[in-house]
């Protein structure tokens, strides 16, 4: 299978993540969109690794997974605090620092 197929799938997934990130209002959904983008990148890494016959692509994927896990842990903790304080998950209302 040519590498362009994988890359096209990766690009589609990334684009969906971007769209979700920009247009959704629910923090959880936004969060999931980020995960989607990360995994799209992972897919691209693996595809390149396979095509070029190198291990670095797979190694990077592990790094990304670890960082994503850490980010999910911190991010979800923040989401819980926001949910408790605001009784809402709408990002439009998280604007304390707004001028």
């Amino acid at each position: 299978m040519p590498i362009s197929y994988y890359l096209a799938l990766s690009a589609v997934l990334f684009g969906l993540g971007v769209i979700g990130f920009v247009f959704k209002r629910n923090i959880i959904t936004i969060f999931m969109s980020i995960e989607l983008m990360l995994n799209a990148v992972n897919l691209a890494f693996i595809a390149f690794g396979l095509a070029l016959g190198q291990l670095q692509g797979q190694v990077f994927v592990f790094f990304v997974i670890v960082v994503a896990a850490a980010e999910a842990a911190v991010g979800l903790a923040i989401v819980i605090v926001i949910a408790r304080n605001r009784q809402s998950l709408n990002v439009e209302r998280i604007n304390l620092l707004k001028l």
Binding site: V18, F21, V22, F23, V91, E92, I94, N95, K98, L99
Partner: protein, 646 residues
């Protein structure tokens, strides 16, 4: 002790440090012990140095000790080096000896207030800088001492800093000295450019080898004239003398130590130290003599009509410093240093006596409100009488020998100048006139103050003891330099001759030995002038005390000129001070500082603020907008990347 020369200046510095910093709550007796002890030990160390100095062989002089390299930059190198030769030794003895006596006097004189400790700290600090100045073995160390004594002078003139006139006088002294020091500094730069060093020995050795610049065009003439500018500032000569009369705002012991005996003589010392440079620049020599002569006469005339006892003495000091400059200017450096020494004795005595009078009358300084104090303060009167005889040059007293030697050199020496000689003789007469006027106004006649209110009392012994010692020195201080002419050994001149070997030709009176014709023609006029001065003073102030007032009325124009001190202060104010203040206030302050510099700084800040004010609207608080920006940025970057790779 010669190995540890550094101890001599360091001891007073330690005294200043401990009195000034460490012991804030120690009792008065501890402050006294530190101040007196440090200067006293310094004096003893100087005596020990003098004893060991006598055993040195001629090739060991000047005795030079370099302690550490102070500055090293490129080809420039300056060591912290001290040296002792005959000239330094005499200055050391005068500074530490007279300095110690004045410290002793101050203990009895200064009021016991919060400033007591500060006063002694400053005084000790002054001793440190003055001793550094005279011990210096290169111009840079000398300059450190030079500036340091200027600083102490400023601090002590403005000692009573709550008094506006005192702080103004301090500022004036500092600024006027700055003008002279600027010249001095330029002279040092030129010295370094010419000789590549600032050490005394190589400079004097190399400049002695240069030809004498008779035409007046040359680097040595320029250097000598610039050094002279520094000396006129420090030694209060025309045209920079204006600070010294105002310096009398300081406490009286300060006037005695700094503004009469030691610091103001630093200029004379420096000129004498640089004698090789000056003798190779006859134009500069002539300038020294002319400035000295003009100052001597000028200040003596002003002193004739002053009513403030300390100001009279201040003008007298300026006049006597003029004599020392005449001595240097006519090549008689030894005579100049000799007059410096005798002047230190009798002028310190006069100031301390004036302080004692002020002490007795409750702080009165106006001689018009004194009179008839002779009976109530007999010791002060007796010592001041001796000092007056000495400064007037009455035969046998110290001032007689030094003044005669200067005028002898002015009349017959290698640089003899008959105009300078005649003016010097006239000044000698004026000196006797104003000094006896001071004495008669203060101590003779009828009391002109309210005797019920002012209880006149003799000062305590601690004040009188230094007076007595200085009175003794004022009498005998000149004897060891009595020239051969009058049967003396002239030890002083022979002692100093080794220093001035290169330049002093025949200023000493040895060659005239036994020529009675010459005694009459050269020694006669100054003596006659002094007696005439004395007789005039006696006539005007004892015999007919009402004449001075009538004289002032009938000669009102010259009187007002003198009483107004030739209006030099007013002239300087008109020509220099007021234009400077006007330019500062209107141009430098408003146009340059407020408009340009402040405008630039404030303008930059205002512009930054305005730009920020516009940009802050990007910070909407809407997270999705931020995300859109991030994505936009990523798209732009990626596009650029793809573009450039391709």
């Amino acid at each position: 002790m010669l190995e540890h020369l550094w101890l001599i200046p360091l001891l007073p510095l330690l005294g200043a440090a401990s009195n000034g910093i460490f012991v804030s709550r120690w009792p008065r007796s501890a402050v006294n012990a530190i101040a007196l002890g440090s200067t006293g030990l310094s004096f003893l160390a100087t005596l020990e140095v003098a004893r060991e100095f006598a055993n040195l062989s001629a090739d060991q002089i000047p005795w030079l000790r370099s302690y550490f390299t102070w500055i090293e930059a490129g080809s420039f190198r300056a060591d912290f080096a001290l040296q002792v030769d005959q000239l330094t030794l005499i200055m050391l003895l005068v500074v530490t000896g007279v300095g110690w006596l004045i410290h002793l006097y101050s203990i009895g004189y200064m009021p016991d207030d919060t400033g007591y400790r500060r006063f002694f700290a400053y005084l000790n600090l002054f001793m440190f800088f003055m001793l550094t100045l005279v011990l210096a073995a290169n111009y840079l160390v000398l300059f450190v001492g030079w500036e340091g004594v200027g600083l102490c002078s400023y601090l002590l003139i403005g000692f009573w800093f709550l008094k506006k006139t005192a702080t103004d006088a301090g500022n004036k002294a500092f600024w006027v000295n700055r003008i002279g020091d600027f010249g001095f500094l330029l002279g040092l730069f030129l010295l370094f450019r010419q000789f590549g060093t600032l050490d005394f020995a190589p400079i004097f050795r190399n400049s002695a080898a240069l030809p004498v610049e008779t035409s007046g065009h040359g680097v040595l003439t320029a250097i000598a004239l610039l050094l002279l500018a520094g000396a006129t500032g420090k030694s209060a000569q025309l045209p920079l003398y204006v600070w010294l009369p105002d310096a009398m705002e300081g406490p009286t012991p300060v006037s005695a130590l700094i503004h009469a005996a030691t610091m103001v003589a630093a200029g004379v010392y420096m000129v004498a130290r640089s004698h090789v440079l000056f003798t190779h620049a006859p134009v500069a020599m002539f300038a020294v003599a002319v400035i000295g002569c003009a100052t001597a006469l000028f200040a003596a005339t002003i002193a004739l009509v002053q009513t403030d006892i300390k100001r009279t003495l201040a003008y007298s000091t300026i006049s006597q410093l003029g004599y020392m400059f005449i001595a240097c200017g006519v090549g008689a450096f030894g005579a100049g240093i000799f007059h410096l020494m005798t002047h230190a004795f009798f002028k310190a005595l006069l100031f301390l006596g004036a302080g004692s009078v002020m002490h007795a009358t409750g702080g009165e300084q106006d001689m018009r409100l004194m009179g008839g104090l002779r009976k109530s303060v007999p010791w002060t009167y007796a010592t001041m009488f001796i000092a007056t005889l000495a400064i007037s040059g009455m035969p046998g007293f110290s001032g007689f020998f030094s003044k005669e030697e200067i005028l002898l050199a002015a009349g017959t020496g290698p640089y003899a100048n008959s105009v300078i000689y005649v003016l010097g003789v006239i000044t000698a007469g004026l000196t006797a006139l104003y000094m006896f006027r001071l004495l008669f106004l203060t101590f003779h006649g009828v009391p002109r103050f309210d005797q019920k209110k002012t209880h006149v009392h003799e000062s305590p012994r601690i004040i009188l003891a230094p007076l007595a010692v200085l009175a003794l020195l004022s009498v005998v201080g000149g004897w060891w330099a009595a020239p051969h002419l009058v049967g003396g050994l002239n030890y002083f001149d022979n002692f100093l001759k080794l220093v001035f070997l290169a330049s002093e030709t025949s200023s000493s009176t040895d060659s005239y030995s036994g020529n009675s014709q010459l005694i009459a023609t050269v020694f006669g006029p100054p003596m006659v002038a002094a007696f005439i001065g004395f007789l005039l003073a006696w006539l005007l102030y004892i015999r007919r005390p009402e004449t001075p007032k009538r004289l002032a009325e009938s000669l009102s124009a010259p009187y007002r000129l003198l009483a107004g001190k030739y209006f030099v202060d007013e002239l300087y104010a008109l020509l220099i001070v007021r234009p400077l203040v006007w330019i500062s206030a209107n141009f430098l302050w408003r146009a340059v500082d407020e408009e340009s510099i402040d405008g630039l700084v404030n303008g930059v800040a205002r512009e930054a603020g305005e730009i920020g004010d516009r940009l802050r609207h990007l910070n909407s608080g809407n997270m999705r907008t931020y995300a859109a920006w991030v994505i936009l940025g990523a798209v732009v970057l990626t596009t650029l990347l793809v573009w450039t790779v391709r």
